[in-house]
Symmetry: C2
Subunit: 381 residues, 2 copies
């Protein structure tokens, strides 16, 4: 899926054999991938307009018994998909002239499935398209397909782990470079801009999100960049991510302007103890909810104020994907799942602290891929 | 909607009075804004996770007869929304514990609308949430609300026009700086990275998309960055956009490495003639489809190979919004609509050329906000 010199072989990131098996074992006659994460995972090719022009659908239709899916894309994207994808059967529709859903229904009818069981990503497909599909195929049974793909995507291939680890590491280096070159009096907006530029300099294809809350903005989860000027004693709570060959990073570290005071030290110490204990829970056999509930328990032990609805999430092509480390997520952790474990605390509109690491589940316990950040992590600028 | 020094007054970008009127004149008892463009337009506040965590809904519920909407957001985002929005009634739901749709249904029931006509953005709401809403409110009549908002958003306020013009101008300057510092032998991936950095240096909050097709990649609409090296005679077809205070830019220019040959000059001349004639069609009273069909006619006259399904689009918070300059779009152009007019040609996998400008409809004809690019626009590097 990585685009290198034109014409050279690309590394295979996706687990195509796992997908093939998942389609066979699914309750559907055909499953359709159409989200900006599942389509590229199946097709081995990123269509950027899936996010910028969401109604321009790109779909992979995989029928039970078939060795390969059929791709259906807007004709504007056909040359790219023909060049980049491993899939041979590529169909196209002309935007505004033919509805992508009509074209999908045509393919399903061609495959003899007008009365079939069709799995579609109902957590992504827009309601208008769902209603249209019901009209084109009134006798089909339409269910939700994302679990078929999500279960495969949740366990990362060695190539994916290498890419995710590199992405997280470089993003964190970009953040460190930003902190290291900042000081009292700097403007929040300029810090954000510098972080974005540092991500690009570190090899990201693009920044994905840049939340750097300075001073009172650290008390907001996702503050927009403002003209606030750094003062002595401020915390800077950064949560940021970038795009690397279609995959995402998501890391967080806190800095303080000048030497931390006693209260800041106390909060940070409790946060890091909680975080370290939380990472230790990311092991095969635990369920995702066990990590959440276990972290909640240790937070209380360490005197860390607990308030978060989730303690992290799997990461891959999207930023948040299942399993989510939340109290109702029953999925069991298995080796080569990769999680962003994020521990944070905020006092609304006042201040906040956070830390987030990329953690891989292995047979022998968690591997933290984002360990290099110096000192005790409460970076002093 | 622009975040400046904390606590200072923010300029009002949205047309709130127009929204209020649109809600009153709509066929619905309540309309719900929930897309990453309509929610911030109504609320006056950007919630970044609307795009990075799409299932974490943020909604504005505006009931007929009410002077203001009610906002409903995930509790993680409440401090931001309380600080940034002009709306007073802000409700929250706890992610994973309560479904955002259940919380929406509660509010609609509280407003006495369990049998009401509810307008929801069906071009954005996920099918799973639509089906859930039907279950929570089985007696409500659910229709599609986006036209209520889209009609208001399509006509830009003076503050929006100033922001869009600045965004387009700075993005184009970033592209020019990138071309001006590039040469034969440079790697496509590095050009992309430099363009992103130049956008940030020019004041963008983040790059949004960076398509720089070099050589054969110019024959692809949206190529991912590759290791291709620029050769003499290559074209570079760039289509790029950035984020400025939540609004988007989208501009395009082509460059050639070394002096253009006769064929390149011929293609470019026909493209520019077609583009200039196309812009002249962007005037009040024409319908969007008239611009498309008229451009198709002049392209044939100028010997320019015509192949595109649309000739541009309105721009604002999203990159593509209605009206789209496509053959079936009947909306009439009115003053202060703003369009990205894009003229392009590609020979799949071989080469391509494009140009895209920000054009404002006025009573006295089109204003092009992106005129400064030097020479005849086929930039020679």
């Amino acid at each position: 899926m990585m685009s290198t010199e034109l014409g050279t072989t690309k590394p295979q990131l996706s687990n195509i054999e796992g997908l093939r098996r998942a389609v066979e074992e699914s309750p559907f006659d055909a499953v359709v991938a159409l989200s900006p994460h599942n389509f590229p995972y199946v097709a081995g090719c990123f269509v950027g307009t899936q996010t910028s022009v969401p109604l321009r659908l790109a779909m992979a239709i995989w029928c039970k018994g078939d060795d390969e899916p059929i791709l259906l894309v807007c004709n504007i994207e056909t040359p790219l998909v023909r060049r980049e994808s491993w899939v041979k059967d590529i169909r196209e529709y002309v935007e505004f002239k033919t509805s992508p859903i009509q074209a999908l229904a045509d393919i399903l009818r061609e495959k003899g499935l007008e009365r079939g069981k069709i799995g579609v990503e109902l957590t992504h497909l827009m309601a208008c398209y769902y209603l249209e599909l019901r009209e084109w195929l009134p006798h089909a049974e339409i269910g939700t397909s994302e679990e078929v793909f999500n279960r495969v995507r949740a366990v990362k291939t060695p190539a994916e782990i290498a890419l995710l680890a590199r992405a997280a590491d470089l993003t964190l280096r970009a953040l460190l470079a930003t902190y290291a070159s900042s000081q009292e009096g700097d403007v929040e907006r300029d810090l954000v801009s510098k972080l974005g530029a540092n991500m690009l300099a570190c090899g990201a294809d693009s920044p994905a999100f840049l939340y750097m809350g300075c001073g009172p903005n650290a008390g907001v989860a996702h503050p927009p960049p403002s003209d606030y000027r750094l003062k002595q004693g401020d915390t800077i709570k950064t949560d940021c991510g970038a795009l690397f060959s279609g995959y995402r990073s998501d890391v967080a570290r806190t800095a303080v302007v000048g030497p931390p005071n006693d209260e800041q030290r106390r909060i940070w110490e409790a946060l890091i103890k909680t975080h370290t204990d939380s990472i230790a829970l990311v092991r095969a056999g635990n369920r995702a909810c066990d990590v959440y509930n276990g972290t909640k328990a240790v937070a209380e032990k360490h005197g860390f104020p607990w308030m978060m609805p989730h303690q992290g999430h799997s990461i891959g092509i999207p930023t948040h994907e299942r399993p989510i480390l939340q109290p109702f997520e029953e999925w069991e952790l298995v080796p080569n799942m990769c999680f962003c474990v994020e521990t944070r605390v905020r006092w609304a509109g006042k201040t906040g602290y956070n830390v987030e690491d990329l953690v891989q589940v292995t047979e022998k316990g968690p591997i933290v891929h984002t360990r290099f950040f110096p000192g005790e992590w409460l970076f002093q600028i």
